[in-house]
Structures are given as structure tokens and as C-alpha cells.
Symmetry: C2
């Protein structure tokens, strides 16, 4: 049996799961089955468990998915958690699409069964490319994608740069099977069209597979933003009381000033941050500006006072 | 006659041309005709000239384009420069595509007729969206697009956030005409497919026009990179001799360290910079690293020496 992992498998992400324990989101589909086998059989991680969510969407098929996952975990000697969620009812109650409701139910189930360990998800390069294109096109701030190592949310994605084809080949080479899991049937219309129409057309127009380049754009996007945030924290933007120190901020170019303001508001927890909010705050910073205070989302006040900018929360917070 | 400019016309870019003079690239197509009318008739800029390049691609049509531009400039009292370039021959000689050769010929002609003033180009939002998608898909580092104000290259693009439709409506409302200029016939296959197939499909899948969101992604991309570069320059990354000061650099995270190294190598003129080069340099920085020097593109040596990194050019440069 070939014990080689696909070449773009993210060892660094996997190591986090090895050291801290990992709870694998197991749908029974090819991606999560492959991920479980890689971590358990190839890397022999000692602290692994799997969590399956039965979405109650296509009755007998969903039950067969659940049974498949239970059997696989038994064979591999991996603790198996299962949760049933009536996703159609949840979607109805909340007004979410079936896909959104299913995702919410899964993350909820993972959170319930996770304590200190990482959640390990089987998102792969094709998922990432689709997400990048989706986010770009619907107006995110850039090619934002998923992170392979998301320590803030406790999520790891070791397959994020491995393509669907590589995963399939890997499973076939080992003689493993998987289920065409029932959640595929509820992918929303836009994502389905991106996957089955736009990305193939883009590949055809460019004469190459654009998946790796879209994945790379996402990882560079996150890296650039991380670097910028870290660089800003290394600059003297704040006074000892943690207020924005304007004599320094006002010396910078518009681009850096906007980044500093954005970072300051975000780190202080201002909700629904938009570029318009950042520009509105920027406008009150100069000593001669018409206004010296402005109301932000959440009823937070931004106030310029003695060469400082500070935030004031509404009463009762 | 309506003297209102389209709402996303970039005043800031236009002002550069007003103050420093502008040479408009005039093809006779709708975009450049509109741009010339906006700057001359609406904004009444005093120092304007136009430059037309006859690409000698479709004989009589190209000649009619040239005549149209000459007549328009005469009517508007704008100095008119014209240059004939045998683009098919240039493409043949250089191995460039017709489109690449035409672009090279145009920029060459602009440069010849420009002295201290800005080149003002009529690229619009649809061009930008196409460029962003093209760059993303072919593996640029992100949604890199054109800049509305490119002071390094002396280029201004006041229409960069105005759509083709807004430009057409503007011209029609003023009763102006234009030529379907002959260079449209030589757009390369990939760009044509992005324009006529991929972008319309993307719009349809998302149920909205993705042009503004792709344009916004590009402007945020450039702004983020500008802010990062400026922030890095404000950090103590260099010693007084301009060498990379490693005790500071090595304290930073991988993301910021890579950005610092990239910025250092780029600002020193290392050619063909890639992520691989940045990572290779990063690997020699730690005091205990196996190697303390590495050869970069262009035969440049990167050498770690006494807590500093410096570059050594090959003899004769």
C-alpha cells in the first residue's frame, strides 16, 4: 500500500492536529474519507476523532452516509461522533438556504464535540478556487479564501492545496471507496454554476487549470494582510493608553493611513466595518477638520481630542 | 449640452493632467474620443495634445481612423501627433502577437511625444475587470490591475472606474460619434474570450454586474501593497549603510519577513523576483543556517555577514 501523501498536502497544518488533537469533519465523501485515512493510516496521528452530521436531507441516502462513516471509523479505530440535524426545518426557520443551514449545523456540531483540539476539514484546492472566485465576484475585498491554518477559529485544512483529482487518484490507488455524499445535492445555485460552468470555461479560455493560481492568489492575499497588520502593530500608531496617536498617523500616505484606521477599528471590535466607515473616520483626523466626532456602526462614537482618536461605546456596553 | 461627467470619473487623476499637461492616446474609438471631449470641452484643460498610432493593420479602415482623429483634434483645437507603425511587420520580427506589438508601438509613440507631461489613457472599468481576471487566472500575485494614477510610469486613467456603457451613453447624449477602431480586431484570443464569454457568464451566475467588484478588488490590492511597502519603510529593517538588519528582521513572522525581503530585493533592483527567490533568501538569514550566501537572478549574490544581509552585483555592473 502506497503511503505517500499527495505532493501539496500541508504538513504544517497536519502537525497542529498531531500535537493538539484533531476532530475530523467526516461526510463520507471522497475528500473527508481521504483526509481521515491520511491522518490515521499514513501519519498515524494518535489523537483523532471524527464527527458526522446527518443533514436529514435525502432520508435513506443520508442514513447510508452515516452508516458508511460509522463503519469506517470502527475499522480504523477512531472515535465517532454523530449528530442529526433537520436541516430543511432549520433552513425554513432561519431563512437560510439549505446549503447555509447545513454549513451552520456542521460548524455547530463540530464546536459541541471539540474541546481544545482542532477541527480538521477536508476543503481542497477546487473548493478554494471556487471560494476565491465567489468572493472576488460578489465584492469581498479581494481574493479572500479559506486558510489552511486558521488558529483564530481552531480550524485546519491540510488538503487546501490538493486538487480533487489528486484526492480521487490517491483513494483509488489504495482501493478505498467513498460515498457521493448527500450534501452535494444542496450546493447553492451560484456555487454550482461557478464550479460547473465558470471555472471550466476559464480553464478553457486560459488553456490551463486556473485552480492553482486562484489558490495561490488567496494565500498571498492572506499573507499580505497578515504582514500589513503586523507591520502596523510595530509602528508607533498608538499612545500608551491605546488611543490612535494622530501626529504619527497624519504623516502617512492615504493608503497606509486607511490601513492603520481599519486595523484600529477592527481590533477594537467595531462591527460591519466598511471602506466608507474608514474614510469617514479619516476625514475627522486633521486638526482643522470640520467635525471632530462621528458615529460608527453599533452606535460607537469616534472622537478626536488632543491629537488622539478614541472610541466611546454606547451606555450599557 | 450636458456638461456633467460620469459619476465615477476620477477627478484626482484628471487634475494631474491639468497641472502637468496631458498627451491623450487617441484611437478614434469611443473611449478615447470621450476622454478627449471630457478633458477639453468639459474640464477645459489648457495643456492637452493627442497622439494617434496608425497600426497599418486594416489599410483603408486604419486610414479612416487616422483621418477621424485628425479632424476631431482640428475641431477641438488640440495639437495632433500621428505615427504610422507597421505592426504586422513588428509582430513578425519580434515574435509578439499582433496585440502585444500594437501595444508596444503605442507606448513607444507616446513616449516619443511626451516630455514631462502625463500620458492620459482611456482604459475603463470593463478593461480593468478583464485585466484583473486575466492576471488572477494566469498566475499574477493577485487581482493586479491598472492604476488610475501611475506616477512611476507617468500614466493617468481618469475613466478607470467608468463602464463602457456609461461612456457610450455620455457620447450619445452629446450627439458625438466615434469609430469602431481597427485595433479591436486584433484583441488576442484569451482576452476576447474573457470579455465575450467568461465575464458575461460570471455576471449571469452571480446575478449582477461583477465589473465594479473586480475593479474594487484591484484598487484595494494596489492600496494594500502600497500601504505595506510604506509601513516596511517606516520600520528599522535597514542599517545606516542600507543593508538588511537581521536582528530586527528575524524577530518578525514569516509573512512580514517575506514582505520585508521582497521589498528589499525589489528596491535594490533584483530582476525576475519570485516567491522562490524570497524563500531562498529567507533560508540563509538565521545565524545557524547551513548557507550564508546564495545566487539570485541576474548573477547577484545575497550574502549574510555579521547580522546583515547585503547584495553583491556581478563584476562590470
Amino acid at each position: 500500500m502506497c503511503d505517500k501523501l499527495p505532493k501539496n498536502f500541508n504538513d504544517e497544518a497536519a502537525v497542529f492536529a498531531k500535537e493538539n488533537g484533531g476532530l475530523i469533519g467526516l461526510s463520507g465523501g471522497r475528500d473527508s474519507v481521504a483526509l481521515l485515512l491520511m491522518l490515521k493510516q499514513v501519519l498515524k496521528f494518535p489523537h483523532l476523532a471524527a464527527c458526522h452530521v446527518n443533514h436529514c436531507i435525502r432520508g435513506t441516502e443520508a442514513d447510508a452516509d452515516e452508516q458508511f462513516c460509522a463503519d469506517l471509523c470502527k475499522r480504523l479505530d477512531v472515535p465517532f461522533f454523530c449528530k442529526r440535524v433537520d436541516v430543511p426545518a432549520l433552513a425554513e426557520q432561519t431563512g437560510m438556504s439549505l446549503e447555509e443551514a447545513a454549513r451552520a449545523a456542521r460548524y455547530q456540531a463540530f464546536a459541541e464535540n471539540q474541546s481544545g483540539c482542532f477541527i480538521v476539514l477536508a476543503h481542497h484546492a477546487d473548493d478554494q478556487a471556487e471560494t476565491v472566485l465567489f468572493n472576488m465576484a460578489r465584492g469581498a475585498t479581494g481574493p479572500r479564501g479559506m486558510r489552511a491554518i486558521d488558529t483564530k477559529r481552531g480550524i485546519l485544512r491540510p488538503l487546501l492545496n490538493v486538487t480533487r483529482r489528486e484526492i480521487t487518484d490517491w483513494l483509488v490507488a489504495r482501493g478505498e471507496t467513498w460515498r457521493d455524499d448527500s450534501t452535494n445535492a444542496i450546493a447553492d445555485v451560484t456555487r454550482n454554476r461557478l464550479r460547473h460552468e465558470v471555472l471550466p470555461l476559464l480553464n478553457d479560455a486560459l488553456g490551463r487549470d486556473v485552480t492553482p493560481t486562484l489558490c495561490r492568489a488567496a494565500s498571498l492575499f492572506h499573507e499580505t494582510h497578515d504582514a500589513l497588520s503586523e507591520a502596523i502593530h510595530a509602528l508607533p500608531t498608538l499612545d500608551p493608553q491605546g488611543r490612535l496617536y494622530l501626529p504619527f498617523v497624519l504623516q502617512q500616505s492615504t493608503a497606509l493611513r486607511k490601513a492603520i484606521i481599519h486595523d484600529y477599528l477592527r481590533s477594537r471590535g467595531v462591527p460591519n466595518l466598511s471602506e466608507a466607515t474608514v474614510l469617514a473616520v479619516d476625514a475627522i483626523l486633521p486638526p482643522g477638520a470640520e467635525h471632530s466626532r462621528i458615529c460608527l456602526p453599533g452606535g460607537i462614537l469616534a472622537i478626536r481630542h488632543h491629537k488622539r482618536l478614541e472610541l466611546q461605546w454606547p451606555e450599557g456596553r
